[in-house]
């Protein structure tokens, strides 16, 4: 692989050149086409070309009914757009194909360099830069989808968990960057460091505000490849996302100030400016939330039009951007919060296929425009018009940006760390300050400058471009070595041993459990648990989805479905003779290996087991080389097998959101079945431990114990299980027996016999319709099946004497558990009256 990597690089490089010529020959093509028309003019300039087309069209029209006409102007604009998208896409394809290059140089830098080349060729052909990154195109057609995508795929929990820090960096940090840069440049200007420039203090501040913001496109492009830890990533990324909004607002405020002119600015205007800053920022965010809610509400009712369902998301998201723009609110913040707020609800409301469509199309758009933006950033550089060199201004800008970024980050982090439980480490701060990449937004804003008011617009554009190149290319390239050198905590450590893998899963589950017990989900616990569950979810989610969400309703609802599917799958697998044969071979191999480590040459079974693993686990088969390998090789093979087995079958943590913010990759965790399994298993264990506690038997430790249970116990268990499940799922009687009978593949022995003798009256399933609707954790009583109380065992001798306690259990499982009562304080022993449900209902949950 490594050897032949270089050859495709050059091959593809030449292909690239060809491609690019096809790209820019969009203009030249009509030249070639019109040449047969015997027009002798030199085809080097683009303006005559258009007249060619006109002439060609006209001449053909004269000659009667044309068979074929060439109408370049008819399609010119869309054709060029399409060609540019194609070129950008191909550029990306080529760059991605050379993986060892992108390992060193980030993709964004390569795309910019590609833009240089492309721009140079266009320049060579046209002698004028025909194509530039137009602010209208950029802000209306390229930026929205990128921001929408980042909002939509934002790791919400992480984002809101670090919201405070992100806001501090985004708002205060950006203002600090803008003000310090503007003032320092102005100071240097006054000191005479830049020679003769027609730039006032306000213009400097305007320039500072446009270049202050860290760019999300650039940041993602670089950080995505570096895999720093999640907190660091979300801090840099969240900051870059929000401060784009902030910087646009700042820019507009200062732009207004500049238009107003220095003389007319008084305290009132400044206060108005500050107020407008907050109105614009918060108004934009609020508008985005409103649109997010709108999308969520709309997707509640779109199940009839599944095909166009995804379109609503895009259209409304875009509308939120445009509406904010129309109301002169912050459009970037608007579309960000639109994406953030709607993601949860639309993912739940829409059909699975629609959700993946939305995700995929979102990625396509975002990735596409990102590529185009970087290419055009490169192309824009090749233009003599904008290159106005002023050494002092440019170098000082670069220097101040770098220095003030560092000062700002360290100072703000120092303050934040006083309030953070997990402080941002020093190394992380270094990376944060080094990750202050500027990007296309700054350039877009710079091109928006009004030349009549700001004489040195071109110098500013030129400086902005240089800053972008400096940060994206130089800092981008050095970021990875720096991260490695400083030993920054990486996002995911590849687990090498089985026990590490297992243990990290254990940690995941453990943390989730502890969070659940301590009742917190990050800092947004209140929103999450109360406000959201009570109101947002109720309003914004479909009823069916909501049900399945809040009491694991889906688990049972889908069980029959799953059973049917697993039967089909199982049948197919059993139908394949090879599978059966290989499975046994696989196990044989294991046994053989365990029994006999003396270095026996692995025989045909080893190959077969390997084939098996290739079939099941997609491990590349190495069976052909097996015979030449020694025992170590076998051991490795077995490692692969077991690793993959574990990898595939370990339950995922419930709260996993690693790398969801990646732009070019997204993962869908749709393993609902796992929840079913875990839930059933937990309930079963609780039933068993309860039962054993009741019978006075110590909890069985053998795993496959259920196979040895006698039929009577099974029936009891099933009844308990069914009763218990009944609270969750309200299934009718027939379904329950059907489920029990059909669940052959499940280890839980579901052998419900209709009309079987009632061995223990205490286990009569509760037929109370009320009970069916209350899940046990909502119920105010101690449900029978959830009481593996050890004290109950100790107290066993005197429980039976008090028959009054058992009585309610027999009548209805809604009664108090007798063991819980046995646990109750002595003061309560005398009155056996169960606590009134109404009293406790309000407190629960």
């Amino acid at each position: 692989m490594q050897r032949c990597g270089r050859v495709p690089l050059w091959l593809l490089g030449s292909v690239l050149l060809i491609r690019f010529t096809s790209g820019i020959s969009a203009v030249d093509r009509d030249v070639q086409q019109t040449r047969p028309d015997s027009r002798p003019e030199p085809p080097s300039e683009s303006t005559p070309n258009q007249s060619h087309a006109d002439h060609g069209h006209g001449s053909s029209a004269v000659g009667g009914i044309p068979v074929v006409t060439f109408k370049w102007h008819h399609v010119e604009t869309p054709y060029q757009v399409a060609l540019w998208i194609l070129v950008a896409g191909l550029a990306k394809l080529v760059i991605e194909a050379n993986h060892h290059v992108t390992n060193v140089i980030p993709e964004s830098a390569l795309l910019i360099c590609f833009g240089f080349i492309l721009g140079g060729i266009i320049w060579g052909a046209d002698k004028v830069q025909t194509f530039k990154l137009n602010p209208t195109v950029f802000f209306f057609y390229l930026l929205p989808q990128i921001i929408l995508d980042t909002g939509y795929s934002m790791p919400n929990k992480l984002f809101f968990g670090n919201m405070g820090a992100i806001l501090v960096y985004a708002v205060i940090g950006t203002c600090w960057n803008a003000a310090s840069l503007g003032l320092s440049l102005w100071g240097c200007h006054q000191g005479g460091a830049m020679g003769d420039l027609d730039i006032g203090l306000l213009q400097y501040l305007l320039f500072g505000s446009l270049i202050a913001a860290v760019d999300p496109v650039a940041v993602i492009a670089v950080f995505e490849q570096v895999h720093v830890n999640e907190v660091l990533f979300i801090l840099v990324f969240g900051e870059s996302l929000l401060n784009d909004g902030v910087t646009v607002v700042l820019f507009n405020v200062f732009d207004a100030f500049v238009s107003l002119g220095g003389a007319r600015i008084n305290a009132v205007e400044i206060i108005k400016g500050i107020i407008s800053f907050f109105v614009v920022a918060f108004g934009g965010s609020l508008l985005g939330l409103v649109f997010g809610l709108l999308i969520s509400l709309l997707t509640k009712v779109t199940q009839k039009v599944k095909i166009i369902e995804p379109a609503f998301v895009f259209v409304l998201g875009y509308l939120s951007y445009l509406t904010a723009e129309m109301l002169s609110l912050s459009s970037i913040l608007s579309i960000t919060f639109c994406g953030v707020s709607c993601q949860k609800y639309i993912n739940a409301n829409m059909a699975e296929s629609s959700v993946s469509t939305v995700r995929y199309v979102m990625k396509v758009f975002a990735n596409g425009s990102e590529t185009i933006i970087f290419v055009f950033l490169g192309i824009s550089a090749i233009d003599t018009e904008i290159w106005v060199w002023n050494t002092g201004f440019i170098l000082l800008t670069l220097f101040f940006i770098f220095v003030y970024r560092i000062i700002g980050v360290f100072f703000l982090t120092w303050i934040l760390n006083r309030y953070r439980l997990v402080p941002v480490e020093f190394i992380d701060q270094v990376i944060m300050s080094y990750g202050g990449l500027r990007g296309a937004v700054a350039y877009g804003l710079a091109t928006l400058l009004n030349e009549s008011k700001i004489k040195e617009k071109n110098l500013m554009i030129c400086t902005t471009l240089l800053v972008v190149y400096f940060t994206v290319i130089l800092q981008g390239i050095t970021m990875k070595p720096l991260v490695n050198w400083l030993k920054v905590k990486k996002a995911a450590v590849s687990e090498l041993t089985l026990i590490e893998k297992l243990q990290s899963k254990v940690f995941d589950h453990m943390l989730v459990a502890i969070e659940d017990i301590s009742g917190q989900i990050g800092h947004n616990y209140m929103r999450d648990k109360y406000f959201e569950e009570r109101w947002m979810t109720r309003i914004l989610m479909k009823k069916s989805v909501r049900k399945s969400r809040d009491c694991v309703f889906k688990v049972f609802h889908q069980l029959n479905l799953k059973d049917a599917m697993s039967y089909v799958a199982e049948g197919e697998r059993r139908g394949s003779l090879e599978f059966v044969r290989n499975e046994s071979a696989f196990i044989d191999f294991k046994k053989k290996f365990v029994d006999d480590c003396s270095g026996a040459m692995p025989d045909i079974t080893a190959c077969m087991s390997d084939d098996y693993s290739a079939i099941i686990d997609q491990v590349p088969s190495v069976s052909l080389e097996m015979h030449e390998q020694n025992m170590k090789g076998v051991r490795e093979t077995e490692d692969i097998n077991t690793h993959h087995l574990l990898q595939q079958h370990l339950y995922k943590g419930r709260k996993q959101h690693r790398h969801r913010y990646s732009r070019s990759h997204f993962n869908v965790n749709k393993d609902e079945n796992e929840v079913q399994e875990i839930f059933q298993r937990t309930m079963r264990n609780r039933l068993e431990s309860f039962k054993s506690a009741k019978m006075g038997v110590s909890p069985p430790k053998k795993i496959s114990k259920h196979t040895k249970k006698d039929q009577q116990q099974k029936v009891i268990l099933v009844r308990q299980f069914k009763t218990h499940m009944g609270w969750y799922f309200q299934f009718p009687e027939g379904d329950a027996s059907g489920f029990a009978a059909s669940d052959g593949s499940h280890p839980f022995p579901m052998t419900y016999r209709a009309g079987a003798g009632i061995e223990n009256p205490a286990y009569i399933p509760d037929l109370d319709p009320m009970a069916a609707e209350i899940p046990p954790w909502l119920a105010e009583y101690d449900a029978g099946p959830v009481a593996p109380s050890q004290r109950a065992q100790l107290r066993l001798p005197w429980t039976p004497s008090d028959l009054g306690r058992l009585a309610p259990l027999r009548i209805s499982t809604r009664s108090n558990d007798s063991f819980a009562q046995a646990d109750a304080p002595a003061a309560q022993q005398k009155d056996d009256e169960p606590p009134t449900p109404s009293k406790r209902d309000g407190r629960n949950m």
């Binding site: 439980l421 989730v512 459990a513 301590s518 009491c551 004290r791």
Partner: protein, 226 residues
Amino acid sequence: LAKSCPGQETVTLYLRGVALRGRRPRPAPPSTSPPPASTSHPIKQEDNLTETRLVSHSQITRLYSRFTSLDKGENGTLSREDFQRIPELAINPLGDRIINAFFPEGEDQVNFRGFMRILAHFRPIEDNEKKSVAVSEPLNSRTNKLLFAFRLYDLDRDDKISREELLQVLRMMVGVNISDDQLGSIADRTIQEADTNGDNSISFNEFIKVLEKVDVEQKMSIRFLH
């Protein structure tokens, strides 16, 4: 939201517990002196539940309110049933193991202090703690975090994870569509990785050693709310 001093709440809790139950020796209520309010650094506030070393005052308040909301029996202690009522734990494969970890050997009630002591294992390690050598090792040290994890496996408390114990946990953690044979070979392999003295089980030292590359401090830490 109750903003009263948690110390007082705790005392009233214990008082109420004593008044209601009256037959069980209660652990001494934690000292009521509130932490110095003037200290700006929340980490440095010496909490009154020193042995749990959970940091700030407000965290204790919040966890206490969580404790009371879990405490359906209103007797100042949590039983297993109280934990099992948390719906998320039912779909957590290790839920019941973790519930068990809250209960000391032979007990089936846990008071607030015990509750906090378990949660204290999950407190992140502060920088100043790393440097200063504490008199007694804090509960959230790496070793204690690992010990907590180790105890999840080690049911019979013989300070060894036997194959059976490992199998039990594995069975909890993996789906049903993996056969017992396969699981057994996974367990064998896992033990083989960790086992250095060849007794076919994992001792705590082996456990520490095999996980030395894992960032336990980060993976077993939770940011408790203020």
